[in-house]
């Protein structure tokens, strides 16, 4: 029988020093950056550059070697050893490069973006904390440690969203993000509880190894192994196996902003825009997908179905919401949610590689989009003065920026086309791969499982629409701010961003081109997909999902042409509709500028994101607060009331006793005293000392006695 202790034996490898460096450098940046004051941006950027170099070096060195595990013992609970372990495989390496590289670009970009902010040392310190936490998620191969860093990522996100803490909306958004993430984490903890109970370990390698040997017996999920030679048989209801997967997925629902917890992400745009690019687009929100990839093989069929459906719903809902936003960052935020929905759905349908591929391509083009938007916002802010107050993120004040900032426009366009999924751009490859897998999956499952497919394809259309709408509104037509403010001189003052901001954006735009991943239109032939291993489900057979790996390549090929055609066609339709509606001087464009919010039922539902937020605020939050107040009242009045009542009762009772004591018990005493006193007086009055009276008394008494004796 398999022994747990053998699996989790400590293991070491020289790579541990590199791993420590990868974690320690950003953490050191967090600790030390504030000390450098005005030099803080340079210092932290330098450290991140160093870390990126290490990540790249490691990738080149270990790309072709087998995966490496490093493990140590953390603490002991009775017989159970709690471990920590690292895993370095291709996925880890690629994620390390992406996280560090985008973090580096954002550090660079922020040099300019945050130049005038007094608190920038704090800003860069928090970026370091974020990079550290994110690297923890990437490097650890132990669910407990993934969870630990998962929470730390939540903390750094909280700190960065609320970076401008004097703004009330920012601190509220930070709270919302943290609490929504925590809600998801309840699931994560529950998943940890289930897996620990069954396998006595959090180590993913141990969980996976023991999962292979677990069985379904009569509806029960039985794990049998030895720990230190003691035989252990753990039996749980079979449903807990699905529950474990779904519970862990809840964590991803929070972090990767999936339905129904996604409402925090649009609000998170309160943070500085480079933060949105790094955390709320490229890396942190992808952590959920990454985690799903790590636990992919222990998810059973039912859990995977839930994942797929949630992903599809999220993708669709967010795409609808992105159609009508005014705030450029909100459009990007909803599009991020929508794309994350794709990734999650990909994991759910078993398209492991395609999902990860989309994670990678999306990281670049979405970071590019956010940073470009950051340039626009930054440059617009420069026009602000006491007389000219406006919201620099509102697309209604933009328009025609193509002429003012052509370089930004060009980069934005490249990334946007990748988002829309047009051939030649990276987004096309990965999205296409997901859609193909989805089509095959739906064919296998049949029935209601065509719904996710329909939702996903509809999302393609909407994505094309909102992307082009955004481009048209921001870059084409006339610059609307001078018109609104009636100050024509503003137009001339709007300039292109400087090279510190443009270089990172240009790099990201270049990385959005499909040749980066291979000169092909088929994702199968990209180096990324070829490099990724194909995982096999480890859950007991009767619970396992049908793997896409078993589907013949012919099936894929037969569908490929059709899927390609439909997705490109839908994207183009979306683009054309958007063009017709929002081209300069078109009807919708005119209306758009004048409106405070979209009209009509559809417009409202889209603008308010299906009223989900309002529902949470009005129904759930209010309910919890009312309940809290009611309980507080109950606590004060009822529970404490009983205690106080008891005390009062005792006091009253004591007073009663006192009265009783005084007037009854003491009264009796007094009565006794009084009576004996009276009797005493009576007898005393007899003894008057008058001899005649004594003789008289004796005489009377004698006569009475004689009378008594005679009769």
């Amino acid at each position: 029988m398999i022994d747990l202790q053998d699996i989790i034996l400590p293991k070491s490898d020289p790579i541990i020093y590199w791993i420590i460096a990868l974690l320690a450098i950003p953490f050191f940046s967090f600790l030390s950056t504030q000390k450098f004051r005005s030099k803080a941006p340079h210092w932290s950027t330098f450290l991140l550059g160093l870390n990126t170099l290490i990540a790249i070096y490691l990738t080149t060195r270990y790309w072709n070697s087998d995966f490496i595990t490093v493990r140590g013992h953390w603490f002991k609970l009775g017989e159970t050893q709690i471990t920590y372990s690292f895993l370095v495989d291709r996925l880890t390496l690629i994620m390390s490069v992406i996280v560090n590289f985008i973090s580096l670009l954002v550090h660079l970009f922020s040099q300019e973006y945050m130049r005038k902010d007094k608190a920038k040392p704090r800003y860069f310190a928090f970026l370091g904390l974020f990079t550290f936490s994110m690297m923890g998620i990437v490097l650890f191969n132990d669910l407990l440690f993934i969870f630990i860093f998962w929470e730390l990522v939540g903390l750094s996100s909280y700190l960065l969203i609320g970076f401008w803490f004097e703004k009330k909306s920012a601190s509220l958004a930070a709270n919302k993000a943290f609490i929504m993430n925590r809600l998801g984490d309840l699931g994560f903890i529950t998943g940890l509880m289930i897996l620990y109970t069954q396998f006595h370990s959090f180590d993913l390698e141990a969980i996976k190894s023991l999962m292979i040997y677990s069985e379904i017996e009569g509806g029960n999920w039985v794990a049998q192994f030895t720990n230190n030679g003691h035989e252990i048989i753990n039996t749980l209801d079979g449903r807990w196996l699905s529950a474990a997967g779904i519970a862990l997925f809840c964590g991803a629902v929070g972090k990767s902003a999936q339905f129904p917890l996604q409402v925090w992400l649009p609000d998170a745009m309160e943070g500085p825009t480079p933060v949105s690019a790094l955390i709320h687009a490229a890396t942190m929100v992808a952590a959920g997908v990454y985690m799903l990839a790590r636990i992919f093989v222990i998810l059973d069929a039912q859990a995977l179905e839930v994942v797929a459906i949630v992903g599809a719903i999220t993708a669709f809902m967010a795409a609808i919401a992105a159609l009508s936003q005014f705030d450029i960052k909100k459009v990007l935020a909803y599009s991020t949610i929508s794309q994350l929905g794709y990734m999650v759905m990909a994991m759910g349908i078993g398209a492991y590689t395609s999902g990860l591929f989309h994670l990678v391509t999306h990281a670049f083009f979405k970071a590019g989009l956010f940073l470009s938007a950051g340039i626009i916002i930054h440059q617009l802010h420069k026009l602000e003065s006491k007389e000219v107050m406006f919201n620099a993120q509102d697309m209604r004040v933009m328009g025609g920026l193509r002429k003012h900032m052509p370089k930004t426009f060009f980069c934005f366009l490249m990334c946007a086309l990748a988002l829309a999924g047009l051939p030649g751009f990276s987004g096309f490859l990965s999205k296409d791969a997901i859609l193909l897998d989805l089509a095959v999956w739906a064919d296998i499952k049949g029935g209601g499982f065509y719904i996710p497919e329909v939702l996903a394809f509809a999302t393609v259309l909407f994505t094309g629409f909102y992307t082009i709408r955004m481009i048209l509104l921001v870059f084409f037509g006339n610059f609307r701010l001078p018109i609104i403010m009636q100050k024509n001189e503003l137009s001339g003052r709007l300039k292109e961003g400087n090279w510190i901001m443009l270089v990172p954006v240009a790099i990201l735009a270049l990385l959005s081109l499909s040749p980066v991943f291979g000169f092909t239109l088929n994702a199968e032939h990209t180096w990324f997909v070829e490099a990724m291993p194909t995982p096999i489900y480890l859950v007991p057979i009767s619970y396992a999902a049908k793997s896409l790996v078993d589907v013949t390549p012919e099936t894929f090929e037969a569908l490929h042409g059709l899927v390609n055609a439909v997705s490109i066609g839908l994207a183009i339709v979306g683009i054309v509709i958007a063009y017709l509606a929002y081209k300069p001087n078109a009807k919708l464009e005119q209306e758009f500028v004048e409106r405070r919010e979209p009209r009509g039922f559809f417009g409202q539902v889209s603008f308010y994101h299906w009223y989900q937020d309002a529902f949470y605020r009005k129904a759930i939050l209010k309910f919890v607060m009312l309940k809290a107040q009611a309980l507080s009242w109950f606590d004060k009045k009822v529970i404490d009331g009983i205690i106080d009542g008891l005390a009062k009762f005792n006091v009253v009772f004591a007073h009663l006793i006192k009265w009783f004591d005084r007037y009854f018990v003491d009264g009796l005493v007094h009565l006794t005293v009084f009576t004996s006193g009276r009797i005493g007086q009576l007898t005393r009055s007899i003894q008057s000392g008058n001899v005649q009276a004594y003789i008289l008394a004796s005489f009377v008494f004698l006569i009475l006695l004689m009378l008594y004796l005679v009769f």
């Binding site: 953390w74 603490f75 407990l144 803490f165 609490i179 984490d185 509880m193 620990y196």
Partner: protein, 559 residues
């Protein structure tokens, strides 16, 4: 060092005497004496903990498991045919109390530093504080029930005066409520103690009394069971270790393991367990016996709140383990569902109540109620993970709540106002203070990296794994984590973020950032909370073996 534990317990008492003997002219010496005395105590405690060997393995009900034992007969008298009345001075440590001892040392010293600015009636204050310290430490190391009870009761007296004299506006009400409430619990404990005394004998002393060797314990136990040794020769005992061994119960006695004696048709052992449970649950405090806590905390001066939340509540948890669970494992198993439920309930109930509070100190007080729920749930689980989690939670909450009350004290010292709604945007006025508040809040809401996370995680996995309580309990209890995040972050947002604003303009100048004395208290706590969050073995290695044998002890009574 022999008598190490006695030094630890009585040094504060000696310091109290010195305070009393120092004339009032030198009243600035009182606080110095207090800090020195408790500092010395802490040094000795650290020495004792470093000498404590975590690898000692022994049953939880055998003296082999104990270390640093001191045991001498205190007094005894012969009661003729009723046997012999004997009380020992018996102190010692095992994994169950070593952590509590360390915690008490740390928090008492920090409380002493926090008392630095007490100006009123200094002699009385510091004398009482030291007396309180002595009785708390005594309570944690006493292993004779009589001695334990003595120390336990003796905590009430100084606490009553410390709240009642140096407290806030409603101090009299709070003090008397605290006193009476806890006294009710004490009476329940006293009754059980007498019952136990009448049922348990000391096998060693009985052997000597009946003319056997001290090594013939098992034989003597057999003879007592047979009735060969007559009741006149049986030496009854207050020894808590003997009370934990079912073989040491006199046949036919009231609390005997066979459980024939009944009260109201229920086995006497169950009733005795419930009495102990309620007695210590009041101290813990567990819902619905918790309402003394918010009042006591709100009215108590900062250092007393620190001691109250940091250690006194743990006396309740520790007492529950040491007496109720160890002595009545069968009853504990019978009631585990109930205890687990009340634990879960307290977690959510306390958190929801905290959400509704307007007073910062009350909010923290209710968060304590919520966190003590974890202790109950972990104990009810009866698994190694759950019990370790419960003990770790007591330890960790001791540090975190001490810190929370200190930071509440910082703002109260400056403005004499604790209402959350009266402040806004303090982060711009007091940035360093805000950092510490954020650390304390995040530590308390269970962020990984801080000690609270380890404790809560262990309680969760232990309770889910447990066969004594149903799996839905820990799952439902996880909502406490979200509520915890809710009330802390909401408080941070209302008090510290946004534009700087205070209700009273006069406060602006008094709201200065932390001073060096405050750093001296807060920084060590932050370090400790982090160290125990990142390196839990520091404590777990000490308690692991005891917890395991404790769990085994409980496990014997499971089906």
């Amino acid at each position: 060092m022999v008598h190490l534990l006695s030094y630890i317990v009585f040094i504060p008492l000696v310091a109290a005497l010195l305070v009393l003997l120092t004339p009032k002219v030198y009243q600035n010496l009182y606080r110095v004496l207090t800090v020195l005395g408790l500092g010395l105590t802490l040094v000795l405690i650290i020495f004792a903990v470093s000498k404590f060997d975590g690898s000692v393995q022994g049953a939880i009900n055998s003296e082999a498991n104990l270390q640093l034992v001191e045991k001498t007969e205190w007094f005894s008298m012969s009661l003729g045919s009723l046997g012999k009345f004997s009380v020992d001075y018996f102190v010692g440590t095992d994994g169950l109390n070593v952590g509590m001892l360390l915690l008490a040392g740390i928090v008492l010293l920090i409380g002493a530093i926090a008392s630095w600015n007490i100006k009123e009636k200094q002699k009385a204050y510091f004398g009482l504080y030291l007396l309180l310290s002595s009785s708390i430490l005594g309570c944690f190391v006493a292993l004779d029930f009589f001695l334990f009870y003595l120390f336990f009761e003796f905590m009430l007296l100084p606490m009553y005066f410390l709240i009642g004299i140096w407290g806030g506006p409603r101090k009299e009400y709070a003090a008397i409520k605290f006193f009476l409430y806890t006294l009710v619990g004490s009476i329940l404990i006293l009754i059980v103690m007498i019952g136990l005394y009448n049922s348990v004998y000391d096998p060693v002393k009985t052997a000597l009394e009946a003319g056997y060797e001290a090594s013939q314990v098992e034989q003597v136990q057999q003879l007592v069971q047979d009735g060969t040794i007559k009741s006149g020769q049986i030496v009854k005992s207050f020894n808590m270790i003997h009370m934990a061994d079912a073989d040491n119960y006199i046949p036919g006695s009231f609390l005997e393991k066979s459980g024939l004696a009944k009260i109201f048709g229920q086995p006497a052992r169950w009733i005795a367990f419930l009495a102990l449970l309620i007695g210590f649950a009041i101290k813990l405090p567990a819902v619905p016996f918790h309402t003394w806590l918010p009042d006591a905390h709100v009215e108590a001066p900062t250092p007393i709140s620190v001691v109250l939340a940091g250690i006194l509540l743990k006396v309740g948890g520790y007492g529950l383990i040491r007496t109720a669970f160890v002595m009545f494992p069968d009853s504990a198993y019978h009631y585990s569902w109930l205890i687990g439920f009340f634990g879960m309930f307290a977690i959510i109930y306390g958190a929801l109540n905290a959400l509704a509070q307007k007073d910062l100190k009350k909010l923290i007080a209710y968060s304590s109620v919520s966190h003590m729920g974890f202790v109950l749930m972990g104990l009810a689980a009866m698994t190694v993970e759950g019990i370790s989690g419960a003990i770790y939670q007591m330890y960790s909450h001791g540090l975190i709540s001490a810190m929370l009350f200190l930071i509440a004290g910082v703002i109260y010292d400056r403005t004499h106002d604790r209402m959350i709604e009266n402040y806004g945007g303090l982060a711009s006025q007091m940035p360093k203070y805000t950092v510490f508040v954020a650390i304390a809040f995040f530590a308390s809401l269970g962020l990984p990296g801080f000690s609270g996370f380890i404790a809560e995680l262990m309680v969760f996995i232990g309770s889910f794994k447990s066969s004594a309580i149903p799996a839905w309990m820990p799952v439902v209890a996880t909502t406490g984590l979200v509520l915890g995040a809710g009330y802390y972050l909401w408080t941070l947002q209302r008090m510290f973020f946004g534009k700087f604003w205070v209700k009273d303009k006069n406060w602006v100048n008094s709201l200065t950032d932390l001073n060096s004395r405050e750093y001296l208290m807060l920084v060590p706590l932050v370090i400790l909370i982090l160290v125990f969050g990142i390196y839990p073995s520091l404590l777990l290695d000490l308690i692991n073996n005891s917890v395991e044998s404790f769990a085994d002890h409980l496990f014997q009574f499971r089906k």
